[in-house]
């Protein structure tokens, strides 16, 4: 029984950063922009949370600095991919590289070579051994969903992602909406980074985001650009990772690599089956230039 509870708690801990990042990316992709740089935003957020927490001795301030750092990375994305209309995949890839380089260099400069042993103030764990960020992630699902589907701003966001020129003709400022969506995505991804440091293991290691940004991209797509879909997909990915850890602890000889590969295979199959069902924002990945 306690194993089951532990597994559920572990799943939530694994799923929370994935969920936060994928919600941010969902908002951005709904506006028609693919941000492959999610991984870099999470990594930057992770370091910013540790630094903020260390210098202010407050984990909440750490979360705040993670959000700000995520927004700063998003600004680079906005300038090149949205304002200058460069290829979104190129800018995203570059952001990942840049984040890897900058966080590695900065953490080495601040903590020296012993940076793995530095621990900072972590967030208090509230109920069920979950940090406040896990709960924030779950609460964000209905909020984001309501915002996308039931508010005027959410309608405009979706219009911009489907037919930017039509949205522009009816008075929407396409570039402004996309930029704001990118900033929201940056903030969410930054907080996702805080989730894996001050919310879980309060220390920083080079490249500690470990591919979570790419998993979050998979979650957005397999969740069909819907916050509740993201929740379901994030829990599946989280459970797969948790099952691997629990399996090792219990001495089960699961072929854990197969287990870990399964969510990706499932995502591919979902994509192959439903890519033309019209759920994907029609102008996804296409840069928009003012006429």
């Amino acid at each position: 029984m306690s194993v089951t509870i532990g597994a559920i708690q572990g799943t939530l801990t694994m799923a929370a950063p994935l969920l936060l990042a994928s919600l941010g990316e969902t908002v951005l992709q709904r506006s028609g922009v693919v941000n492959v740089g999610l991984e870099g935003m999470i990594l930057t957020g992770a370091l910013a949370a540790v630094l903020g927490s260390q210098f202010t001795h407050s984990a909440i301030a750490g979360v705040g600095s993670a959000a700000i750092a995520g927004i700063l990375v998003a600004v680079v994305f906005i300038v090149f991919a949205i304002r200058l209309a460069a290829n979104q995949v190129v800018v995203g890839v570059v952001i990942n590289l840049m984040a890897l380089g900058i966080t590695g260099t900065v953490s080495r400069a601040v903590f020296g070579n012993q940076h793995t042993f530095v621990t900072v103030t972590g967030l208090p764990h509230l109920i069920a051994n979950q940090s406040i960020l896990s709960i924030l992630a779950i609460v964000a699902v209905p909020l984001v969903s309501y915002w996308i589907y039931h508010t005027r701003a959410g309608l405009e966001l979706r219009a911009v992602g489907e037919q930017p020129s039509a949205a522009a003709a009816s008075g929407a400022d396409v570039l402004r909406i996309r930029s704001l969506a990118a900033m929201a995505c940056g903030a969410m991804a930054g907080i996702a980074g805080a989730c894996i440091t001050v919310g879980d293991v309060p220390t920083f290691q080079e490249n500690m985001s470990g591919g979570r940004g790419f998993i979050a991209l998979a979650i957005v797509t397999s969740g069909r650009w819907n916050p509740y879909g993201c929740l379901a997909a994030a829990l599946i990915f989280g459970a797969a990772e948790e099952l691997e850890i629990q399996g090792q602890a219990l001495g089960l000889h699961l072929p854990h690599d197969i287990l870990l590969a399964l969510p990706y295979v499932v995502t591919l199959v979902i994509l192959a089956a439903g890519a033309r069902s019209g759920k994907s924002p029609a102008s996804l990945g296409l840069p928009y230039r003012k006429p």
């Binding site: 260099t105 590969a261 890519a275």
Partner: protein
Amino acid sequence: MKSSPIPRMALQNPVLRIAAQSAGAIACLLLLLVITLVGLRIAPGEGLHQLWTGAVGSAEDGRLYPISATLVETAPLLLAALSVGIAWRSGMFSIGAQGQILIGGLCATISAHVLKNLAPQFVCTVMLISAMGGGSLWSFIAAWLKVKRGVQEVISTIMLNYIAIHVVGWLVLGPLRAQGNYLAESDPLPPGVMFARLIPAAWSDHIQTTLHTGVLLALLAAPIMWVFQFRTRSGFNLRILGANPNAARVAGIHTEYLQLLAMAVSGALAGLAGAIILLGSTTGSLPSVSFGGTSGFTAIPVALLGGLHPIGALLSALFFGGLTQGCRNLEQNTGVSSVVIYVIQAAAVLAVVGIRAMKERSEEAGT
């Protein structure tokens, strides 16, 4: 008064134009290096010296080790950059080179495992071919999903990268490892199968250098890809497709076939990179995690900085191969993390992207 017509005419000569562009690019990259070094509080002269010694070696010791290590670093980077180049040229923004490298290494290991009692030269050849085939197939999945099912290649190649990571982990820790091998890697290959070392130890103060025949294969791939892209009908159509998909369709070019072809070639090149990393290593065992480092990802900026052109990729891969080696030297002597190289790559690509976008904008404003 208009500017003098002479420089403009000179720039119409393609060789001179490329030379001028390269010189400009090298000057900008050097400037970027100096700025980075200053930012890291390292004296630029000293830093550049460290980078140069690490990448090329110094005149005093006359050893060939650094330059040989640079070329070994360059080979997989070049193949992966060629792979990225041909896919992106056809309008397929694949970021799957990393997974294809893994599958290439895996297929090579499997064929060596199956054929272990045959003649080494034959085994080596089959390994190279199967790596190309495996990488090609892996890339083809993404291409097929895009062309037939409309799945974005960016997402599908990310999925395939992760599936590749776990397939390698599963097979290496399972069937590809003999009983009693407790290392997290496949069994070592017989020495006869591995690539021959090209520089006799006597030439380099009796230090064994790592330069191997695989590097020659990689260097050969660049002109072959140039011929394919610029001297064959498919290559010509492919470039039209990448430049203007609508025009290609109107001109009656089989866009689906071309994208599948480009992705298959792209996968084969990345797969070959995997085999070359494996056959050029010390033992030839495939590790269960992080085989091939990050060359599949860094190949993207390398290819972009080479203008998605095979010869550009060659120059760019040489530069970044050397920079990687140089940064290792810098790291040893100053404690600066070698990941700083990513910042340099990223800044260079952003500069290129930014300049191109501004140019397009001013051209649009002009017309």
